[in-house]
């Protein structure tokens, strides 16, 4: 948390500095930096340009920094509310009485004893009615359908957890891990398809993909810990290897059984691929991942920033590494539904890269990553739906547009990231 107000800015005459000269001076640097910060805030948020440029005193710089932080907090709170609403929708979808529930004894007993289904069913209807109003005002024919809401909900949740986990991955220089785990998940989908063809239990697909992906994650971790000197070689092996296994399994399976699910949908992502159980999985893993990051935020930051010092401070670095990589695997499987295997890593990396361009602290990087991630999702959906194009590609293209914008902004303000 930045707390500029804690400091006495006695140098009032530094407010007009447009650039940080990265000098080695001691006392003056702080007030220079504050002035620069004010300038960045004005460009970054696009809201407080006037205060920053017309009142170049250090106290106004403090105010703008404050405002910048407040804007971010409001943004994150909005994303949080949106995500909570979407989790609420998924919960209602789950709790309402499914057609054919009476066929399952326990489920029917649950409904009749708790009486939860009429309420959930009613609220669920309200969502769809609200959707119908959206459609009416927007001239669309989308939001009145439950599948569309499931889709949107899954997307919104991806926009929260992918950049959240990605912030640590990117700064640990593990960006390609996401891509690797997506390919492992693809092998998992292949295994799942075979499993479904044999057992007929369709809901199992993503859970099997999840299991295989987590096993793959532990495998990558094991390989990188043992072959340190080769850097990203184990990752490349794992990436191609699991994809190879996946394609072999699918071709082999198609030889003697009928597989009803189009594999292309998992490769490129599709709006029709999100099932009720898929969105439920996404909701559960979102709650889990957010809770884990909330508890281990500090430890993950420490090992990301200075692994050796974290080791000396007796943090269990290897356990936290494993935790991070398993969380990545979990997020990747959830996000794969909308983004597709090939593009899923983009959501882990691009919003974080954009945020790192203009963020001034780690906490800010985290906030901005989530904001940019959510903007990419919503923008991508809008684009995909309006142009009838695939969601995955649209989301990534919007994310890259935000990234380029962030570069432009950080260039214009003299760059907060100095290149050494």
């Amino acid at each position: 948390m930045t707390e500029n107000e804690d400091h006495d800015h006695t140098h009032d005459d530094h407010g007009d500095h447009a650039h940080d000269d990265h000098g080695h001076g001691h006392a003056d640097d702080a007030s220079d930096a504050t002035a620069v910060d004010g300038g960045i805030a004005s460009h970054g948020t696009g809201i407080d340009t006037d205060t920053a440029t017309t009142a170049p005193t250090s106290s106004s710089a403090v105010r703008t920094t404050d405002l910048r932080e407040r804007v971010q907090l409001v943004g994150v709170a909005l994303v949080g509310l949106l995500a909570a609403a979407m989790i609420g929708f998924i919960a209602l979808d789950w709790l309402r009485r499914y057609p054919g529930a009476e066929a399952f004894g326990p489920l029917e007993t649950f409904y009749t004893t708790t009486g939860i289904d009429p309420a959930a069913g009613y609220l669920f209807e309200q969502f769809l009615i609200a959707g119908a109003w959206f459609d009416y005002f927007l001239g669309t024919e989308l939001f009145q359908y439950a599948f569309m809401w499931r889709n949107l909900a899954t997307g919104v949740l991806i926009g929260v957890v992918a950049p959240l986990v990605g912030t640590y991955l990117v700064h640990r220089q593990m960006a390609l891990i996401g891509e690797t785990l997506a390919h492992t998940a693809f092998a998992g989908v292949a295994v799942g398809l075979l499993f479904i063809a044999v057992t007929g239990w369709e809901g199992a697909l993503l859970y099997i993909a999840l299991l295989v992906s987590v096993i793959g994650a532990l495998g990558v971790q094991w390989l990188t810990e043992r072959t340190n000197s080769f850097g990203d070689v184990p990752i490349a092996i794992m990436l191609t290897g699991s994809f190879a296994v996946g394609t072999l399994l699918i071709s082999w399976g198609r030889g003697f059984m009928s597989i009803g699910i189009e594999i292309e949908e998992f490769l490129f992502g599709s709006l029709s691929v999100v099932s009720a159980s898929g969105s439920r999985l996404m909701a559960m893993l979102t709650v889990g991942v957010v809770a884990v990051v909330a508890v281990t935020y500090k430890q993950l930051l420490f090992i990301t920033f200075d692994e050796q010092a974290a080791r000396v401070a007796r943090l269990n670095v290897s356990a936290y590494n494993t935790l991070l990589i398993v969380m990545t695997a979990v997020v990747v499987v959830g996000a794969m539904q909308v983004l597709g295997v090939i593009l899923v890593a983009g959501m882990l990396v691009i919003p974080v890269a954009a945020a790192s361009q203009i963020a001034r602290s780690f906490r800010e990087t985290l906030y901005l990553s989530i904001l940019f991630g959510q903007l990419s999702i919503l923008g991508g959906y809008t684009f995909a739906l309006s142009q009838s194009l695939p969601s995955g590609g649209s989301i990534i293209v919007v994310a890259i547009a935000i990234y380029l914008l962030a570069i432009a902004v950080s260039d214009r303000t003299g760059g907060t990231i100095s290149v050494h």
């Binding site: 930045t2 707390e3 500029n4 804690d6 400091h7 940080d20 990265h22 080695h24 001691h26 006392a27 640097d29 702080a30 007030s31 930096a33 504050t34 910060d37 920094t65 700064h171 640990r172 508890v295 281990t296 500090k298 430890q299 930051l301 420490f302 990301t304 920033f305 200075d306 692994e307 050796q308 010092a309 080791r311 000396v312 401070a313 007796r314 943090l315 790192s356 963020a359 001034r360 602290s361 780690f362 906490r363 800010e364 990087t365 907060t416 990231i417 100095s418 050494h420």
Partner: protein
């Protein structure tokens, strides 16, 4: 009184090439130990073994009287590594965030409280970079950055400060200031282990010297080190002495 670090008969090899052979030395509370030796002499290896980052092939290491592999009071050690951090150059982390990390070992999975923030501000004040608190680490000069890491160690209320060539690439003036800071920290009771390639600096500052080149050539107070020929013996094997006069 328990010693801070107790290294006993430690040997360590990278594959077939030995880095340390039968090294034994003890660091007492309040020591300012300079660890010197030619390049590739095993200084950093010895420091890593002391801190438990590397496990010795043979021999034992104790930290604050506990075997190093079961030592769990990580907050008692402040560590400033050679290239202070891998990510400090690219990751947007403020000086205050970095120093606050010193509190992480104390709070565990709990929340950072007001007291932690106060201690952080105090640490920033002590090393003289309170005015840089909201700067990013990657905007600092080399000397300022090392101060931030010292502040992190202070924030964790470390009893032992281990530094691996902290002033590489730092200009002479900032370096002198930096060593004055170490002096005053040492006087306030913090034990310091310092790896330094500049023999002059070490003999000026450190109360005790350990001179190694795979084996321990000297361990004792600075005067006896200057008078002995441990230096030329140790350096005679591989390299030349870096010695600036002050």
């Amino acid at each position: 009184m328990k010693s801070v670090v107790d290294v006993h008969d430690v040997s360590f090899a990278y594959g077939d090439s030995p880095a340390l052979e039968d090294v034994s030395l003890t660091v007492e509370k309040g020591d300012f130990l300079g660890l010197v030796g030619p390049n590739g002499s095993g200084k950093t290896t010895l420091l890593h073994v002391m801190l438990g980052l590397l496990e010795p092939d043979t021999g034992t290491v104790e930290l604050f009287g506990q075997p190093v592999d079961s030592f769990d009071e990580g907050e008692r050690i402040g560590y400033v590594s050679q290239k202070a951090t891998d990510r400090g150059g690219t990751m947007p982390v403020t000086v205050r965030e970095c120093v606050l990390m010193g509190r992480f070992a104390h709070v565990g999975h709990g929340r950072i409280g007001d007291e932690d923030r106060l201690i952080t501000e105090d640490a920033l004040e002590t090393v003289g970079i309170a005015d840089l608190a909201d700067q990013q680490m990657n905007q600092l000069s080399g000397g300022q950055r090392q101060r931030a890491y010292i502040a992190r160690a202070l924030a964790s209320e470390a009893d032992l400060l281990a530094l691996d060539e902290p002033t590489v690439g730092v200009d002479a003036e900032s370096r002198d200031e930096f060593y004055r800071l170490l002096d005053s920290l040492n006087r306030s009771g913090i034990t310091i282990i310092l790896i330094e390639h500049d023999i002059g600096v070490v003999t000026d500052r450190a109360g005790r010297i350990a001179c190694i080149n795979t084996e321990l050539y000297h361990h004792g107070d600075t005067e006896s080190f200057v008078e002995s020929n441990a230096l030329s013996e140790a350096y005679g094997k591989t390299g030349e002495v870096v010695h600036h006069h002050h």
